[in-house]
């Protein structure tokens, strides 16, 4: 037996050795070196290859819905409005837009001479058609509700589109930035749910589809009739590589130009390999979501604000950022992107203060009893389960939280579940104590569906059961107010109440960590709030730096 074990471990060590040897020999740059750091004037052409983990299910985003689909479709389709580098609205297809004095009607004026990629004119009829599609009950989209609030949509002329709401609805503007306009002349009479158009689309943005190889890649080529003027890079290729490690190998081998790194690749592997740092630029952008610890407010003792605050004080957020994200993230104290107007600048995260946590728990009536280190009240120990889904960052956060809560006398077990089971079995039924989950750092400040007390039915998003009449009123007011400055005050107050009541513990917002090959020029660094890709149409690849192997 012993003999066997030794044999096994010797084998294991020799395997490790082989891998170490393999890893130690790295490629030396061959022959003619090109200086990727040199400056070049902007020019058109070239191919940029990136890698995504998933393949789009289709390119009509109102139906496909997933991130992979939006990533490709946003290069093909235009919306009425878009966000500028600071995440403020600007016109995309619309030249201007006007809100009526009673705030119930929005009138969009389209830019002149808009064209689809096939040369047909793009008019307000296309926009009306798209609105009808997204609100049609036969369309299999989960995103129709914002648009169903429109009681009247009109096209007084080919360049004007007018929508009216029964009540002023502030998120409306944002919703028109999210609706990609589809061509009426190609889709009329088709069943949107299974139209071949989803795999062979015609849009009006910088690029058009060149070829979609199922399961392998999508390539886009410049649209000469783009409604936004020309982009510089001729061809965009997205390869579908589900595995992060494989993506990284492809990056090292110079087969792809850009990928999103994880913190280990960014903070450990890159600095250890100068040959990578020579070829690739590393960037940081504010991520799109924050991670939080949520309480089931309908379960005792989480209805007690002192318990929630105690847990908030007991968790060391900086430790989470350092441990889970290797420092590549920041704490948040409101559900909005830091640096945008919606973030209340007066709020700061709960400090790490275990003494205060213990004091609050004592005030709430929890005392040590049988010497096992777990506090009790009325014979009930402070012992809970944290649920989370299969997401490494959330799992690691849960482990660090478990340890910190143990120090103040709270016993925590962790349970990791597959996503659909997690939602179906626990979130919908409200059968949980604490969860580690994420919400997006919304661009529009409306958080009605997450925090309003009416949104607690199974399947709705206020599943933690938050109920505060003051917050309800603010959320209702915020939806009716289209003036950005007045709206800002409403949501600052809303964020402040959330901070005081601590219904969730904000843990962190991780950075997006793109690595981009230095052959690609024109990148804004540091990235503005809208992210590194906000001006990707101006990126360019100078002739001498292009790949040679692609001949087409």
């Amino acid at each position: 037996m012993m003999h066997n074990l030794i044999k096994q471990s010797a084998l294991f060590h020799s395997l490790l050795l082989v891998s170490a040897l393999l890893a130690a020999c790295s490629k030396t740059p061959s022959g003619n070196t090109v200086d990727f750091n040199a400056e070049y004037p902007p020019e058109d052409g070239g191919t940029m290859i990136d890698a995504t983990r998933g393949e789009p299910s289709g390119l009509i985003t109102m139906i496909a819905g997933e991130a992979a689909a939006s990533a490709v479709a946003q290069n093909i389709f235009s919306s009425l409005l878009r966000f500028d580098k600071n995440l403020e609205f600007e016109g995309e297809l619309a030249e201007s837009w006007q809100v009526s004095p009673d705030q119930k009607t929005i009138t969009f004026k389209l830019k002149p001479n808009l064209k689809w990629a096939d040369g047909k004119p793009l008019t307000s009829a296309d926009i009306l058609f798209t609105w009808k599609l997204v609100t049609d009950d036969k369309t299999r989209t989960p995103y129709g509700s914002d648009y169903k609030l429109v009681i009247r949509a009109e096209t007084p002329d080919a360049r004007t589109f007018k929508v009216s709401y029964a009540e002023p609805y502030a998120p409306a503007i944002n919703s028109w930035a999210g609706l990609q306009i589809l061509p009426k002349h190609l889709l009329q009479g088709q069943d949107i749910n299974n139209t071949p158009f989803a795999r062979n689309p015609t849009g009006s943005h910088y690029y058009k589809l060149e070829k979609w190889r199922s399961g392998e890649q999508i390539s886009l080529v410049r649209n000469s009739l783009s409604s936004q003027g020309p982009a510089r890079i001729e061809r965009l290729v997205s390869r579908f590589i589900p595995d992060e490690a494989s993506q990284f190998l492809e990056l090292m081998a110079n087969n792809i130009d850009t990928m999103t790194l994880n913190p280990v690749q960014y903070a450990r592997i890159f600095p250890a390999r100068p040959e990578l740092e020579q070829k690739f630029g590393l960037y940081k952008e504010l991520g799109n979501s924050y991670t939080y610890l949520g309480f089931n407010l309908k379960h005792k003792p989480f209805d007690d604000i002192r318990v929630r605050k105690a847990i908030n004080y007991a968790i060391n957020k900086q430790e989470l950022i350092d441990g889970v994200l290797l420092g590549l993230g920041e704490p948040v104290s409101s559900p909005y992107k830091p640096g945008t107007r919606w973030t209340n600048p007066d709020l700061t995260p709960y400090a790490y203060d275990p003494g205060k946590a213990k004091e609050l728990l004592r005030q709430a009536g929890f005392k040590p009893r049988n010497g096992d280190g777990v506090l009790e009240r009325n014979g009930k120990p402070l012992s809970f389960e944290i649920l989370t889904n299969q997401n490494k960052q959330r799992e690691m956060s849960a482990v660090l939280i478990q340890r910190r809560l143990k120090e103040v006398g709270i016993d925590v077990r962790i349970r990791v579940l597959e996503w659909a089971s997690f939602i179906g079995r626990f979130i919908k039924t409200g059968d949980f104590d604490m969860v580690v989950l994420g919400w997006s750092l919304a661009i529009d400040p409306d958080q009605y569906s997450i925090w309003h007390s009416s949104q607690q039915a199974p399947g709705q998003f206020n599943f933690i059961g938050y109920n505060n009449p003051r917050v309800d009123r603010l959320l209702e007011k915020g939806r009716m107010e289209l003036d950005p400055d007045k709206r800002m005050k409403i949501y600052h107050e809303f964020a402040q109440i959330l901070q005081e009541e601590s219904p969730i513990v904000y843990l962190f917002a991780g950075y997006g960590l793109p690595a981009i090959h230095k052959r690609i020029k024109g990148i804004d660094n540091p990235a503005p709030p809208a992210g590194i890709g906000h001006n990707s149409q101006d990126w360019y690849i100078p002739q001498p730096l292009r790949r040679t192997e692609i001949s087409q």
């Binding site: 082989v18 891998s19 393999l22 890893a23 020999c25 490629k27 191919t47 290859i49 299910s57 289709g58 139906i63 496909a64 819905g65 997933e66 009950d137 299999r140 989209t141 989960p142 995103y143 509700s145 914002d146 999210g178 749910n193 299974n194 071949p196 989803a198 795999r199 062979n200 070829k211 199922s214 399961g215 392998e216 890649q217 290729v237 390869r239 579908f240 590589i241 589900p242 595995d243 494989s246 190998l249 492809e250 081998a253 597959e418 996503w419 659909a420 089971s421 939602i423 179906g424 079995r425 919908k428 997006s440 958080q447 569906s449 399947g459 998003f461 192997e549 692609i550 001949s551 087409q552």
Partner: protein, 339 residues
């Protein structure tokens, strides 16, 4: 014989219905459906719209009614359309009135997986047969020990780990083989020879990795079969009448030792359409394993059921084929079937 075949084929029908019913029920036992996975946790997607989707997909009906609807379509060999992938047909392509073709999901993934699995099965047989024979002939001596050690290392080594190392070694350190994917950039412009060569280069590592773990089973099977046969009386007879050793080993022993292999090959037919999720993810190959895994995570019931149905039909057919082949190869079995 024909009678026997017909009887076996007939009994496959209730068996298939039973299998599909059990699979259908088990899938629906798992919490969640397409409406929990698809629009994810997006606050912009309202619960009412999700309820509407549930109605469109009949997910609000009792499971047994859903099964009835599914069976009704299956009788017409209609595998339905995917929930998740924009209503793509599950199995075969469809053509609409304007002549636009929408490719089927299984139709696209199956040939790739089949190619990899057939290649790796061929590789396994080509390597494992001689290894097994050599092992048996040198039983308990150095070559036997070395071969056994080698095939067990191949069996025990984590495929994904070896795959990543080989990808690094042959793709990053040296420019010998492509790292992932099925085709190079610009493969469309290649002539057929260059295109085939390019595809084969991309398939080298996946085939090698999936073949390596299969060596142990087949080679040990051949080894033990050979050892059994070599101790039989008729081998002693063959040697006694002075036949050359090669004739004894390859003419008499090996042919008999290979008989059980027929069963194994028959049983591996359904395996040919199943891909490895891990290998396919690492090598970015759009095969059956990834298709099935993603469908399960998305709760894309038509796709899951489609793959399961084809898989179980092939399993039953494989069993039948193995039995028939066995009867063909072995007179003793043949006589038993006839009676």
């Amino acid at each position: 014989m024909l009678n026997y075949l017909l009887k076996r084929l007939f009994w496959m029908i209730p068996l298939l219905i039973g299998i599909s019913l059990v699979s259908f029920l088990i899938i629906h036992l798992a919490p969640g459906d397409i409406t929990t996975t698809e629009a994810g946790f997006d606050p912009k997607a309202s619960e009412e719209s999700r309820q509407k989707l549930r109605e469109i997909y009949h997910l609000d009906k009792p499971v047994i009614v859903q099964y009835g609807l599914w069976l009704e379509r299956m009788v017409k060999l209609d595998f339905g359309t995917s929930f998740a992938s924009h209503q793509r047909p599950v199995f075969l392509q469809t053509k609409d009135k304007d002549g636009n073709v929408t490719p089927g999901m299984i139709e696209e993934a199956l040939p790739i997986t089949l190619l990899i699995n057939v290649l790796s099965l061929a590789l396994i047989l080509v390597i494992a047969l001689p290894l097994g024979v050599i092992s048996a002939l040198t039983q308990n001596r150095a070559p036997d020990r070395a071969i056994t050690l080698f095939v067990f290392i191949g069996f025990a080594i984590p495929g994904f780990w070896l795959a990543l190392l080989l990808m690094y070694w042959t793709g990053v350190v040296h420019d010998w083989l492509p790292i992932s994917g099925l085709h190079s950039q610009g493969a469309d412009a290649m002539n057929w020879f260059a295109y085939t060569l390019d595809t084969l280069k991309h398939l080298t590592l996946p085939v090698l990795i999936s073949g390596l773990s299969g060596l142990a089973g087949i080679s040990l099977f051949v080894r033990n079969g050979m050892l059994d046969v070599l101790h039989q009386d008729y081998i002693v007879t063959a040697r006694a009448k002075g036949l050359p050793e090669n004739t004894v080993v390859y003419g008499h022993a090996l042919r008999n030792a290979l008989l059980p292999l027929i069963t194994i090959l028959g049983l591996s037919i359904p395996g040919l359409i199943g891909g490895s999720v891990i290998a396919e993810s690492i090598f970015a190959i759009p095969g059956m394993g990834k298709l099935f895994y993603d469908a399960v995570l998305m709760r894309d019931f038509p796709v899951i059921m489609g793959i399961l149905t084809i898989g179980s039909a092939l399993t039953l057919l494989g069993n039948l084929l193995a039995d028939v082949a066995y009867a063909w190869a072995d007179p003793r079995v043949r006589r038993g079937v006839m009676q």
